[in-house]
């Protein structure tokens, strides 16, 4: 058979078979494509979440398809919908149960700011209870908006610095 010029065909890693990277960047890369999610769904935005998670928009393309039913196994908390004052301690408990590293997405106008419910019953934004990484506006948000926000979260995860144990020792 004819000779195949391999070097011309593959413009991949150099011939020695190794690549160089920084540990931080490699860990970020690994984490951003394996975000296990815990959807905390309380209201109508859940419909949009289902649309995003299922085949039409397909979150799995971004490595976020894996839904965990225990917060202890999740990396990403999706707060989807209105959080009432009555429910606030539940959300706080769920957040506290998640192990580090963890990220929070405020999904939709209610989770971001309380939305149209400026009244006695509703928490005016979940950042009153827990820290939030990405805010998604919209009532409810379009699936494209959600994908955009989640890609932004991936970029954030990629760039995150890590405080190593040996770094802290002095």
């Amino acid at each position: 058979m004819g000779k195949v010029n391999r070097q011309k065909k593959r413009a991949g890693p150099v011939r020695g078979g190794f690549i160089t990277t920084r540990l931080n960047s490699m860990i970020g890369w690994g984490r951003k494509y394996s975000l296990f999610q815990y959807p905390f769904i309380t209201a109508c935005c859940g419909m949009e979440y289902m649309s995003v998670a299922c085949a039409h928009y397909d979150l799995d393309r971004f490595g976020m398809g894996w839904t965990r039913f225990s917060p202890r196994q999740a990396d990403m908390l999706l707060v989807v919908g209105t959080i009432t004052q009555k429910e606030a301690p539940v959300l706080k408990t769920v957040y506290d149960q998640m192990t580090e590293p963890k990220w929070v997405v405020a999904f939709g106008a209610c989770a971001v700011s309380g939305g149209i419910y400026d009244n006695y019953a509703v928490v005016q934004g979940i950042d009153n209870i827990i820290p939030v990484d990405v805010y998604i506006p919209g009532c409810p948000p379009r699936p494209e908006t959600i994908l955009d926000a989640l890609i932004k979260l991936q970029q954030k995860v990629q760039k995150e610095g890590h405080e190593w144990r040996w770094g802290k020792k002095k």
């Binding site: 004052q85 009555k86 005016q124 950042d127 009153n128 827990i130």
Partner: protein
């Protein structure tokens, strides 16, 4: 007004001549304004045959802040056998509003009355378990009263920042 409805109003007027204060029609349904103390007698009479208002559709309250008898209780009754609806209204005083509970007549009045107690602070005499339904333990005041402060918040856990 359907024929059956006229009969119901007539029977009510004959049976409780002193207790029926006013009768009117809105959107095809009758509204009967009654005396607060005779609520139980009147609904028991309406629930029995021949009127047969077997169903309590809803029970709620309105706060007419600033008027003399501030709270108005509204009862929506429905008769399955004759397909009739009837609305019963009665006024309660603003200071310590209370009225007889309907839990002995309709079981679903239990939660409906708890809701009204939660939101308006109306006490229901004879209710077996008058506790807040929607708001949490430790919540002060009744949020649907017109004098509840618009911006008042009562968080259960400390907030991370000032609202």
């Amino acid at each position: 007004m359907a024929m059956g409805q006229e009969k119901v109003i007539e029977d009510l007027k004959n049976k409780f001549p002193e207790k029926i204060k006013d009768v009117s029609v809105r959107f095809g349904d009758d509204i009967v304004i009654i005396d607060r103390d005779s609520l139980l007698d009147i609904v028991k009479f309406l629930k029995e045959k021949p009127h047969d208002f077997a169903m309590l559709l809803d029970l709620t309250c309105v706060d007419y802040s600033g008027q003399k008898d501030r709270f108005e209780m509204v009862y929506h009754l429905f008769s399955l056998s004759s397909n009739l609806r009837l609305r019963i209204k009665t006024r309660l005083s603003g200071k310590d509003p209370s009225i007889d509970s309907l839990t002995s007549v309709w079981k679903n009045a239990n939660w409906l009355e708890r809701e009204v107690y939660d939101m308006f602070g109306v006490r229901f005499e004879g209710h077996p378990y008058l506790r807040r339904l929607f708001m949490y333990d430790g919540f002060e005041g009744h949020p649907l009263r017109k004098d509840y402060p618009l911006r008042k918040r009562q968080p259960r856990i400390p907030m991370r920042k000032e609202e």
